[in-house]
Amino acid sequence: MNIQAIWENGVFRPLQPIAIKHARLTIVVPDEEIEALTAENVPDYDLNDFPAEIREELAKIQAINDAAAKIALPAEMDGVELDEQEQRTRAFDLRNALRREQGRPV
């Protein structure tokens, strides 16, 4: 279901009473909304203005990232997160949330 929520000091608050089964869940925020939060006007460059070797370097960077998308884990390892790891994830979530709240990139 879709619910309405407000973003307040780094926390989402539902605008209607709701009971959720688990403490953690995924909220999908449209990319354009996140863009507004950074409040930064980042100029775009025309890559054709740069030498070919620079463009090749950019392609190499992207190729590494694309290769990562093909990595899979064995079923018995996938999704298994120790309490300590989960705690660390939450700690970094807090770091990221605080930074976003301050309008900073993570």
């Binding site: 996140i34 460059y45 996938d78 301050q102």
Partner: protein, 535 residues
């Protein structure tokens, strides 16, 4: 600007596509081309991992292809491992831990780390305005860096000797070795000294290696062990660094200078015998610029006169002569770990090599105040030990040394081939067919040497002269009575020799640039000369 310290957000930009990431990638691609060194802070590793994983996790979910947290972390580790493989890791130091009282400990650590770089050589690359404000002028956004690099193409400078790239390549081993010494605390004659001596002896193929405080002290120790003193004479070359003659004189002996072979710049064996007198106590050839002298010929003369031979191999560690390693070619071999030497430390150091047990013992004793056991001194010695820290550093450098020797030879051959083709009037180094050189220096002979050197230096090519005044013409040796022309070949070489940037990490493109600039310089000087004549 030579270094970029990367804030976490810039590293994350490399790893995930998001608003602004293209600019970070563009700035880093330009920086790579310009030869800037990119540094990541070791203390930021976990933050990088979790932030990249978090971004990948959310992006996958937003794209309707949800993945688990564990998979996002596995992918993050892969990406980070690949992207940071070409970066340098800046160790987190104890002094950067006391940040809990600051507004943002994560930012503060990076800002403190900036202080380790020389002034105006480093920029903190960040997309974070708050971080930029904190770091002040030392921070730059990717966009500012892009514009800066577009406006003034940053060209990597050519160093005369590039120790920086070598350090980048061995940093993990180097830091581990140094920290190990800091922790065990045996700063004098610690275990690294023995490890190094064993390794060097095996490398050279000598029975004994005795490390010492410098490549000058090694000469002194060697001559003291041979009992050289006042009234004695030691035959050597005049075309060398002062230390060779200086140590002979320091012992009260007289250096007897024998002229050099014009092709190799090393002592000419054919002229040695005429210089031998009843007072002669040793022959000390120098393996100049990284190539050994004709040691068989010298040893043969020495054997006939029952004289020991000390090879001053300060510049030739790693070179070979008829298949044998420099330092293992005569009674005693002596080398230097001065930082610019083929195998250099981060300070002074040196080593002696011999197959003679009695000489080895004498040299070991002399190195420690003439002591054969604690507080028992049967002879006069010096304070001549190698610091454990220096031994630890040289050990780290040994890991890469074989590769470096090979590279030096490739660079030397590359110079020679290019110079022969484009500047035939230049005298290039001559390497005997039975020798290999480690090219401690790549040294040519050129007319109008000082003018050429000045113009090259002005065009960003550093040069040096090894050596402008032969020892027999040095003021300190005037009393020896050598007249002008006494060693005429050395005197002529001293007027014309010029050394170029050299090292295992010198790029082929750098060599091409140097040769191109030299060629232009010679043509210009020749033209100016013609003009002067016609006026």
């Amino acid at each position: 600007m030579k270094h970029l310290l990367l804030d976490v957000n810039v590293v994350v930009d490399l790893c995930v596509t998001r608003r602004g990431s293209t600019n970070s990638r563009l700035a880093l691609a330009q920086a790579k081309k310009a030869g800037l060194t990119c540094w990541c802070y070791v203390g930021s590793v976990q933050t990088m991992e979790y932030v990249v994983a978090d971004e990948l996790f959310h992006q996958a979910n937003a794209a309707g292809q949800p993945i688990s947290r564990t998979l996002s972390k596995a992918r993050a580790r892969f990406i980070l491992g690949q992207h940071t493989a070409h970066f340098q890791w800046l160790a987190a130091l104890a002094g950067e831990a006391d940040v809990f009282g600051t507004e943002d400990p994560e930012d503060e650590q990076l800002i403190l780390a900036l202080d380790r770089f020389p002034v105006n050589t480093v920029v903190l690359l960040t997309r974070d305005k708050l971080m930029s404000d904190r770091a002040g002028e030392r921070a730059m956004t990717p966009e500012a860096l892009i514009e800066c690099q577009r406006a003034q193409a940053i060209q990597p400078a050519i160093d005369f000797i590039d120790l920086k790239t070598q350090q980048d390549a061995i940093r993990p081993e180097l830091e581990k070795n140094i920290h190990r010494v800091l922790h065990h605390g045996q700063y004098i004659m610690g275990p690294e000294v023995k490890q190094l001596e064993d390794k060097l002896a095996a490398y050279v193929g000598a029975k004994h290696c005795i490390t010492a405080s410098s490549g000058t002290d090694t000469l002194l120790i060697a001559m003291m062990a041979l009992g050289i003193g006042p009234g004695d004479e030691v035959i050597t070359t005049p075309f060398t660094f002062i230390a060779t003659g200086e140590m002979i004189a320091l012992l009260g002996a007289r250096p007897v200078f024998v002229d050099i072979d014009p092709r190799t710049y090393n002592i000419d064996p054919a002229k040695i015998e005429a210089a031998i007198t009843p007072k002669t106590k040793a022959i000390m050839p120098v393996s100049l610029y990284g190539q050994c002298a004709d040691m068989d010929a010298i040893n043969e003369i020495a054997n006939r006169h029952r004289l020991p031979v000390i090879e001053d191999a300060a510049q030739s560690f790693g070179a070979t002569y008829k298949g044998r390693k420099s330092c293992a070619l005569s009674t005693i071999g002596s080398t230097s770990f001065f930082p610019s030497k083929p195998l250099g430390g981060y300070g002074d150091g040196g080593a002696l090599f011999t197959n003679d047990d009695a000489l080895a013992k004498a040299m070991r004793d002399i190195r420690v105040h003439g002591q054969d056991r604690r507080y028992h001194h049967p002879r006069i010695g010096i304070n001549g030990r190698l610091d454990t820290l220096q031994a630890a550093i040289v050990l780290a450098k040994m890991e890469r040394f074989d590769w470096e020797v090979e590279q030096r030879q490739k660079v030397g051959a590359g110079y020679t081939a290019m110079l022969k083709e484009s500047c035939p009037e230049i005298v290039v180094p001559f390497i005997e067919p039975y020798s290999t050189s480690v090219y401690a220096q790549y040294t040519i002979q050129v007319a109008n040497r000082d003018d050429v050197a000045k113009r090259l230096n002005d065009s960003g090519i550093p040069t040096a002269v090894h050596y402008p005044v032969p020892l027999h013409q040095q003021p300190v040796f005037q009393a020896l009575g050598y007249k002008k022309g006494a060693c005429s070949i050395a005197e002529q070489a001293a007027e014309n020799v010029l050394s170029f940037p050299m090292g295992p990490d010198l790029l082929e493109s750098d060599v091409k640039q140097i040769v191109k600039n030299l060629n232009a310089c010679i043509r210009l000087l020749s033209q100016l000369n013609q003009n002067e004549k016609s006026i």
